[in-house]
């Protein structure tokens, strides 16, 4: 191997830079265009600079109630995040021992990840429709529907976020040193104490990563929500509906707002992870630094 930078490095570096530009370029274009002047259209050039379209969104003068969808998506995202974190960490712990039905759970997660979203979504909607029919037939005629944001919608989102959470847990525990737990046990810690004071602090940065995945995947989820969300809409569904009708930059403004929330969450999560890892690096191990 040659030392220093080879020709291949420069070719690939340019290729990589082009890929990054391809990833970010179009997104940046619409963030700029959402500051279009009041007379501006859907494309460049900018026709003046203003916050007209952004403020129009907040005034709620649009066709749909975006504020309500915004709050619904936020609520769902937070609930999905919390459940994803708790269930993934728990199941991740379980996978460190052998247990029956282990492979069933593993393959369910993988299948849930790769079965086309529309099929899962259709299945959930059929399931709830049949439940509805049963309730109407046997319990109450006036019953409307059991489908909704926090029933079928929540379930649909979890089938998408939990596999990611579980796979991240696998990655964490592949690198986890079980001797740390043995040491805790030898010192008389109960299983709960071992988890709470030894395992959890070590895996915490990655657990925040799972939360980040849980929230952002739910916040932007579309395909699974499409059939399973019930009578109300989430923000991405509203946005998708607008793509066919809107000819004004409000769609970019909405896109910018949704992305802004994503970026705030990403920044918060990454910042926390950074601080935690730093703290671990400075205070984590005192091996070899003891008095004896």
């Amino acid at each position: 191997m040659k030392e220093g930078r080879s020709r291949g490095f420069y070719i690939l570096a340019v290729f990589f830079a082009a890929y990054v530009l391809f990833l970010y370029g179009p997104m940046i274009a619409i963030y700029i265009l959402s500051f279009q002047g009041p007379q501006g259209g859907l494309t460049f050039p900018m026709n003046g600079v203003s916050t007209y379209w952004l403020s129009k969104l907040f005034q709620g003068t649009g066709i749909i109630d975006l504020g309500a969808s915004f709050r619904r998506s936020l609520l769902l995202g937070i609930v999905v995040m919390a459940i994803t974190v708790v269930l993934s960490v728990a199941a991740g712990m379980a996978f460190r021992r052998r247990f029956r039905a282990q492979s069933i759970l593993f393959y369910s997660a993988i299948a849930s990840l790769i079965v086309p979203s529309i099929i899962t979504s259709l299945g959930i909607s059929l399931e709830f429709r049949i439940i509805d029919d049963l309730i109407k037939a046997h319990l109450s005629d006036r019953f409307e529907t059991s489908m909704g944001l926090l029933t079928s919608g929540l379930g649909a989102h979890l089938t998408w976020t939990l596999p990611f959470g579980l796979l991240i847990m696998f990655a964490i525990f592949n690198r986890f040193d079980p001797r740390l737990e043995e040491a805790a046990r030898d010192l008389g810690a109960t299983p709960w104490q071992t988890f709470r004071y030894v395992v959890l602090p070590i895996i915490l940065p990655s657990v925040i990563g799972i939360g980040l995945f849980g929230f952002t995947l739910s916040w932007d989820e579309l395909a699974r929500s499409s059939q399973a969300i019930g009578p109300v809409n989430t923000l991405p569904l509203d946005l998708q509906g607008l793509t066919t009708t809107v000819t004004k930059p409000d769609i970019y403004a909405l896109g910018t707002i949704i992305s802004a929330v994503s970026f705030v969450v990403i920044a918060l999560a990454l910042g926390t992870i950074h601080i935690l890892t730093k703290r671990q690096a400075s205070k984590g191990s005192d091996a070899g630094k003891g008095l004896v």
């Binding site: 191997m1 690939l12 179009p26 997104m27 274009a29 059929l126």
Partner: protein
Amino acid sequence: MTSASDDILHQTAPGLARGSDTARRGKTARLSPSFISWLQAGPMMLVFLAFFLIPLGFVVVVSFWDYNEYQLLPAFSGRGYTDTFEGCIAQLPDLCTIGKTYVKTLKLCFLVWAITLFIGFWVAYFLAFHVKSRTWQMGLSLLCTIPFWTSNVIRMIAWIPLLGRNGLVNSGLIGAGLINQPIEWLLYSEFSVVLALVHLFTFFMVVPIFNSMVRIDKSLIEAAYDAGASGLQTLVNVIIPLAKPGIVIGSIFVITIVMGDFITIGVMGGQQIAAAGKIIETRLNALQFPAAAANAVILLAITFMIITMMSRIVDIRKEL
């Protein structure tokens, strides 16, 4: 520990003995390991059962139900399937609608797969072998991951100001005098669908391939170089075989996503391009649930076949 040694322990090191008492009390109250495993894994299993496995069962069952204009009729019928394959035998040797749709879906799938594999492989290669510092490696990986955490629809509509009739590309080309009239096929076409799918899902290729590549022992590459292998020979005979698990996993992700996609194809194709996922959506909008379910079963079967073929090449479980 025997009681004699316990006594000694109590006398010599009371603190330590207290610890072992706590441990013992813990032990008597401790639940059996398999019960704990169930407690830990059970909730996730229940979610998959209620919102994935049972729904999947309903899709299969309902695909054999009958239907009319406004409701499901729980009686056995093959109508969902016969409606789907209507005219397929009569029109032979020409392809019927469903046949044409699947050919088009597979074509899109193949194009997107080939392009994402090419881009994903070289991006992962760059990150794994050319970026030496850990910090840079993490920073650049993060740069590739952040768009994945933002909305897909936004990343689709982001192409409109670039590719539209009056978009940047067209006005640029006209300005440069290369064309006289705007190119129409840039947006709402198969081109824009493939472009958007590549834009959205190359990430799914980069991650597993990168994962396989960082695990390759660098000394193997040096050994190949010392044994006189050229760069290309090292790539073909050492790196690609060792990165194969990542390539297969990435391919499975991309192929299954594109096979079932209806949103990207809808938005970027101007709702004009038929695809496997789009048929299901159309049937659903017409409230023909058994027909939609039948199409879902067909799509599932084809996707499953593709995955089985690919997973013959690699054991997914071992790669995690």
